[in-house]
Subunit: 235 residues, 4 copies
């Protein structure tokens, strides 16, 4: 299985707190724990040529993981359109944390993906709403993140096809933290945890969820988009 971890890779270069947690970038940390599963894992970042994403490359990728935040606007529309197309053709897509506002995720949802947010160092409790879902495999009734950015409802997404996790925060907010969507031939998972200033991706439960999500999002079918002019059949 071939996974591509994409990261805008901005905060790690400018914020000492972030670099201390993710010295080689969030993408490197995520790639490392996915490689432990025996997957082939590539990484790409915003400053790579063409954002490190080409149609030829994505045609070989099973699942694309996306992390972005302050540089969403620097992702060319053509790149966002390419990612959307490849997901609709079957490539799995996992949008992490602030990727709720990434161009590819917003294009796939068709909504603003807006939410309420604040950053006060609250703890987060991630609750399993659907323990039978493959993405929740090995996850207990809940797990705790000592500090996370708060994302609160309303979250402007289409009604999820499957709601896997719901989170609450120290301040009482709630959020649909783990949501599955089926679009075209592709499977999409959004997962809320992952603010850059906290060691979220070092936490075993978070790694487990992402490891599960990659398996869930693996394509069962890939096909080019087509709107065929068909012939009348003679039943």
């Amino acid at each position: 299985m071939k996974i591509l971890v994409w990261n805008e890779f901005a905060h790690e270069k400018t914020d000492e707190r972030v670099r201390a947690i993710y010295p080689d970038g969030i993408h490197a940390t995520i790639a490392a724990f996915l490689r432990e599963e025996g997957h082939e894992v590539l990484t790409a970042t915003l400053d790579d040529e063409g954002c490190g994403l080409s149609e030829a490359l994505l045609d070989t990728v099973d699942v694309l993981i996306w992390w972005g935040h302050i540089r969403h606007g620097d992702v060319p529309d053509a790149v966002a359109e390419l990612v959307q197309k490849k997901v609709l053709e079957g490539m799995g897509f996992i949008a992490l944390h602030s990727a709720h506002h990434s161009k590819p995720f917003k294009r796939l949802m068709g909504t603003s993906c807006n939410l309420s947010w604040r950053e006060d160092g609250d703890y987060e409790l991630v609750w399993t709403a659907n323990p039978s879902h493959p993405i929740a495999a090995g996850i207990d009734r809940y797990f705790k993140l000592a500090h996370e950015e708060v994302y609160g409802e309303p979250f402007d997404i289409p009604e999820a096809d499957e709601t896997v996790f719901l989170s609450s925060y120290e301040g009482g907010e709630v959020f649909r933290a783990g949501c599955c969507f089926y679009r075209g031939c592709g499977r999409i998972f959004y997962f809320q945890p992952g603010h850059e200033t906290y060691p979220t991706y070092l936490q075993p439960e978070v790694q487990r969820v992402i490891k599960n999500a990659v398996l869930w999002a693996k394509p069962t079918y890939r096909a080019p988009l087509a709107c065929p002019h068909v012939k009348k059949i003679s039943p």
Copy 2:
């Protein structure tokens, strides 16, 4: 518009704390604030003959509201089946709090409707997940209940057609507190607040949600169940 408020009417007869809050029963309190809206509101209870529910009566009812808890088992299967049938034929149905385990609601969901629960006097925060939904009209970003029974995920229901409210509790649990379902010709709304030992139904926001839900659940179409043997058409 004609509304029927059904209550098992058990706790109010045996528990002084409950009687102090709902001297005439939870049904009487709910009926009273719905009458303020100009609706015709009837009430029925478990100990009425035939549970106070007949097909002739329900055929005239737009929306049935259900509250039950310790006496679910005393509701005859035939009565539960009748309610299910009338909902599928178009009657609106609102299941309150512990009615998640009522026979009619379980029959309509097809699932166990199990959840996690505890009773420690936590406060509850009810968050609006879908502010554009008619049931959320006039409800702010969230409202607080000083004390409520805690209902926690996982909540074994079919994925809701519309998720209107999500709750969190003092202890950190989360719950899909306001969920809409479309079944047959009927509309169903489940709403979590309403433990008998707290004055939940006296709170304006809770009354507003129920007033909104009744309007949302009003039938747009009613039809008897049928599985017709049809004739071949000649297009």
Copy 3:
């Protein structure tokens, strides 16, 4: 209630067959039967300045109806983005026939909206899958269109929130011909009939469906898109 009927208004200017059916344009025909319902109905076309669509205008429109086909590409992205934004803010949107490939509809769905198609003059049978849905009010078990363009599955849309109509054609194809979607604060209805070379919009059942859809899509709530930085509450 204020309705805006938008039409690319291209075929009517170049194709005698189309002009014979819709001498003043498809938009004029649709506007006329909606005015019979007492609605205020405006029209706009692609060649109007700014496509006849401004944010100030759309803020006053309850429901926007869209018909386009060969000139989808001439609709500026900024106009498509504006329509998407206004729908997410609450404006109703009805996409007719070949508008399945219009920029606003595709943006709202997030999918390719591709389908299979052919044009052989087949009859179409539109079947009511959900007779209790307000959009099916007054529509019988099925109705027939003497001639329509064939649209066939697979139709690359997100799973519909509500499936109201399913169609079959003389050649045996099937299609989800009437689908409802909830996005942001807005309601979206797609309806398949309406190929320009046939008098589809003159047919009473088609007019009834569109009249019903306009009432269904009327906003219950409008709010500007926002992603607020919130303050920690003190429950």
Copy 4:
């Protein structure tokens, strides 16, 4: 993987036409082609003791396939309740053809599962609405059944979680012929073809769909139903 094929086994005993097609019963034919896949396949029928279904047995079964028609009423409620419970606990369930009215399927749906029907020897065209779905693997754009009983909309089911197949018939009717539902920990697939007087289950495409469905419905998680009284956590 362990599969149990259940059949009321009535028509085959009384109708020469049916016995000619399924000399050992529909269950035997289905079991035979599933064994070709290397699965362990058991069968049970209505006249077996306890309908051939016990909790101990079902706890070892991955997927239960159900065929019934004229003897639905002879299935004890306790057996239907057991099947429902085991599905909610994770066992896969595939309801074939007239099993739309079987007690277990109706209990799981919560609706009447009524539909329109006629039997005139029409051909049926089964169209793939979702080619990316695992259950559609290896199935072309459509396949034809020379003769089938006609099932027509409206089909009174909850909106499907995934619509895989849509059928049309010689007479023009349409039907949601292949629908997936997620309930509790279980996966449910309904598939329309399979009238007893036609050799439907001998047709390769039908066998392929059922073979695919069994793999799709295989449990990923099994857990006993529970409604736990939990302790307050100390986050």
